[in-house]
């Protein structure tokens, strides 16, 4: 393996993970509450009832507090691609940069322009213009999510591009394929519906707290109805899109899928481990090690979930590493060999072109193209380096799925009891609703951990390993900035929570 500064790689990953995880504390709340606020304001405009205006303004205040720190933690992410992942920025910038620019032009300006009207325009513009602005803030923030998720999906499933050996980068050849790849569509829908779900939990959680304290009942009861309805609808979509996303992972990232399910050895009629605790991971030295200390399985469900066929073969980690001729799976050993051939051919192509040797140029280019689809594997010698952290991916995935299912149930109950106006009496449910806020946060972060840890060691699936993507800087600089961002973001988070709690505690809906 070529020499890489693995300390730099680890710290660069740590910085990105830190900033992304912090950013994602706030973004889902922005994505969903913007719609919930727009719905509430619509009710106000339709009914003319002042209580709905007060409710709208209350949630808008919390939205503003959250939005500010979301913006603060977001700016670093865009520029981090350049500061910490400059090799990546060139290798795929031709494709990845476009969605980021479109995000800025199309979404960020819409969001930032109309948010000013939303906060400061109450007495300056007409009711309808104000309402339109609130909806445009919601649409703008969700559009911004679309483009960055398209970019992320492309990294998981790179399509619509060709490698240009002269510029040594991937170049876009089909914009629509990038935008509408099944991975992009599923990722966008799953992420935004999960964000809406989390936002609904945020609203019902705070409303539940008011109901437990027997204060602001008018606000709490009304908010509970709106958020429960919104949450139930969006969480059902979240489950559907999650199911589709998993199937997409099975098709394009089989190693990630195997890690998500803790599947070391592939099988037909594969059962789904619904709940499981690892004992030992099988290794080349001990391939039959006892994998599970305890597990609850559902027969055939994994095969069905992956391929919509209860008898389908689902490849495990071992099949991918060592290959499985029967199932037509090429081993990582072979892919590594092809990758090395591709890397060598690219170097020869460059040298031959410089020397003006046309014959060798053509020959090395042909060899390169033949092997390019396994290009990234060539940076490794040991296929076991191509396996992600299985327990982390498995536990994150199962935490996300388990909590997601629980949220659907919570919304059903909160909606039923809210509509019957019996929610105040169901204190057990109110406590669960209150605790669903941190649970929602946990599920959100777990989802991203599945997506990002599960695809390691790739930054662009099969083409670019994480270790080749980093900037050529010293790891000390990155260590310092990790420390800087950790302190800064933690301080700002504490400030945000304190301000928000004060606002919640001090609010008075007018005594209805």
């Amino acid at each position: 393996m070529e020499h890489f500064d693995l300390t730099l790689v680890d710290w660069s990953r740590a910085q990105f993970a830190l900033t992304a995880l912090y950013h994602w504390i706030f973004v889902p709340i922005t994505l969903g509450t913007s719609f919930i606020i727009a719905i509430m304001e619509t009710i106000y405009v339709k009914t003319g009832q002042e209580i709905w205006k007060r409710i709208t303004k209350f949630w808008m205040t919390l939205f503003g507090i959250n939005f500010a720190i979301g913006v603060a933690t977001g700016i670093i992410l865009e520029f981090e691609f350049g500061t910490n992942w400059s090799n990546y920025s060139w290798f795929v910038g031709d494709i990845f940069g476009a969605p980021l620019a479109i995000e800025g032009i199309m979404a960020f300006f819409m969001e930032s322009t109309f948010i000013a009207i939303m906060f400061f325009g109450w007495d300056k513009v007409s009711k309808k213009f104000h309402l339109t602005s609130s909806w445009l803030v919601a649409i703008g923030s969700n559009l911004s999510a679309l483009w960055i998720l398209v970019a992320n999906a492309w990294m998981q499933n790179p399509v619509g591009m060709e490698f240009n050996p002269d510029t040594a980068r991937n170049e876009m050849v089909d914009f629509w394929q990038v935008l509408f790849s099944p991975t992009a569509v599923n990722k966008f829908l799953h992420v935004i519906t999960s964000a809406y779900t989390y936002s609904a939990l945020f609203v019902i959680g705070i409303s539940a707290w008011y109901l437990l304290k027997k204060k602001n009942l008018a606000l709490a009861k009304r908010s509970m109805v709106v958020a429960s309805t919104f949450g139930l609808i969006t969480s059902l979509f979240m489950v559907m899109t999650g199911d589709e996303s998993a199937r997409e992972v099975y098709k394009v990232q089989p190693m990630k899928f195997a890690a998500m399910e803790g599947l070391y050895y592939g099988e037909t009629n594969a059962p789904l481990v619904a709940i499981g605790i690892f004992e030992n991971a099988p290794t080349p030295q001990d391939p039959k090690a006892k994998e599970w200390a305890a597990k609850i399985e559902i027969p055939n469900l994994l095969s069905y979930m992956a391929a919509l066929d209860p008898h389908a073969f689902v490849p495990g980690i071992h099949d991918l590493v060592h290959g499985n001729k029967e199932q037509g799976i090429v081993s990582y050993y072979d892919k590594i060999a092809r990758g090395k051939t591709a890397i060598q051919a690219l170097a020869e192509y460059k040298a031959a072109k410089k020397a003006g040797d046309r014959e060798k140029t053509a020959a090395s280019l042909a060899t390169f193209k033949e092997n390019y689809k396994d290009f990234g594997y060539g940076y490794y010698d040991d296929p076991h380096d191509l396996i992600p952290n299985v327990p982390l991916t498995f536990y994150s995935f199962h935490t996300m799925v388990g909590l997601g299912t629980l949220f659907v149930l919570i919304f059903i109950f909160t909606l039923i009891y809210s509509v019957k106006d019996k929610i105040v009496d169901k204190r057990w449910l109110l406590y669960i609703a209150l605790w669903s806020i941190p649970m929602g946060f946990l599920a959100q972060e777990a989802g991203w951990m599945v997506a990002e840890f599960g695809r390691q060691p790739w930054v662009v699936q099969d083409y670019m390993p994480t270790l080749t993507a980093v900037s050529n800087i010293d790891h000390t600089s990155v260590m310092i900035t990790v420390l800087l961002f950790t302190i800064t973001f933690t301080v700002l988070l504490i400030a945000e929570i304190k301000i928000m709690l004060k606002q919640i505690n001090g609010f008075n809906d007018g005594g209805h």
Binding site: I75, N87, G97, T113, A116, F120
Partner: protein, 385 residues
Amino acid sequence: MFENLSYLALQEYWWAIVSLLGSLLVFLLFVQGGQTLLYTLGKTDSEVKVLANSLGRKWEFTFTTLVTFGGAAFASFPLFYATSFGGAYWVWIIILFAFIIQAVSYEYRSKASNWLGTKTYDTFLYINGLLGTLLLGTAVATFFTGSQFLVNDMNQSFWQSPFKGLELAFNLGRYATYINLSLGLGVFFLARVLAILYFMNNVDNDAILERARKKLLPNAALFLVFFLFFLVNILVISGFNYDPVSGAVNMEPFKYLHNLLAMPVVLIILLIGVVMVLLGIFRAAFAYEKCGRRAIWLAGAGTVLTVFALFLTAGYNHTAFYPSVYDLQSSLTIQNASSSFYTLVAMSYVSLMIPFVAAYIWYAWRSLNKKRITVKEMEEDSHAY
């Protein structure tokens, strides 16, 4: 439509778009300039609150323009994005840090239980105002003076200074550093001048406006000193010329002066821009009662034109817009640093939305600016910062 353009025409189109975003950003830095004047122009809590709220309704435009500038640079000139951000690491990290702490400061500064206290958030705003303008100006000056990096045949870039960009502002043994800093300081004082003109337009408070008028000329004088130092220097220094066929880069005496003479339209834009900025300042200073409130638009438009012309001078007429003084042939040009033809075409269609975006920003701005901000409004507004 865009498919029929040549690759070079698309590269030039995108350099113009990036330049336009950069020049709009410099105008919108009046928010940063204003942040450094909060306690100079505001002497009571309510006056500071008026000023903070006046800026607080615009800060997101600046922020968003910066983000879009970064996104557009990434999409259209990814090798510049990779080289500059990944190389001048510390300069960009400090700039980003300054914007991170700004983003929460307006919203949190006067909220109950804000933990750090109003003064801390106002200090964050000051830091953002100082570092944001100074370092962005310094970074842009390197388009003319060059940086130390190497790009290999796989288009991977390697910054050659261990100070990772800090040398651009602190290596006082190199004359170019003074040129860099002069633009940085020029942008800093220009942002303060524009902020004063903006307050004249947006704030309705006699005490604040009286102080603003007093601070206008000293800041304008300092801006002129630093800006003219920068302008004269880039007109006389050797610049980075490249051969459009071979791509070879060579030093050309008076390159930027030659560029302006070779592109008279750009020269005219520059001259009109400078005159408009000066006229805006002059009218606010000496004809305040008559046209002081509108001076921001004159000086603002002049700023956009001036900076736009400077960007075009740095990138057009076979000029390496991001030159390397370590290895001349590693210098970046709009031809060797750009995205592919296909991507530029796709992006160009997206750029057609820009006039529409500008129109709704203008409409929203006007809707909010119908009335000037007063102390009374701050007392009544439930969402005042």
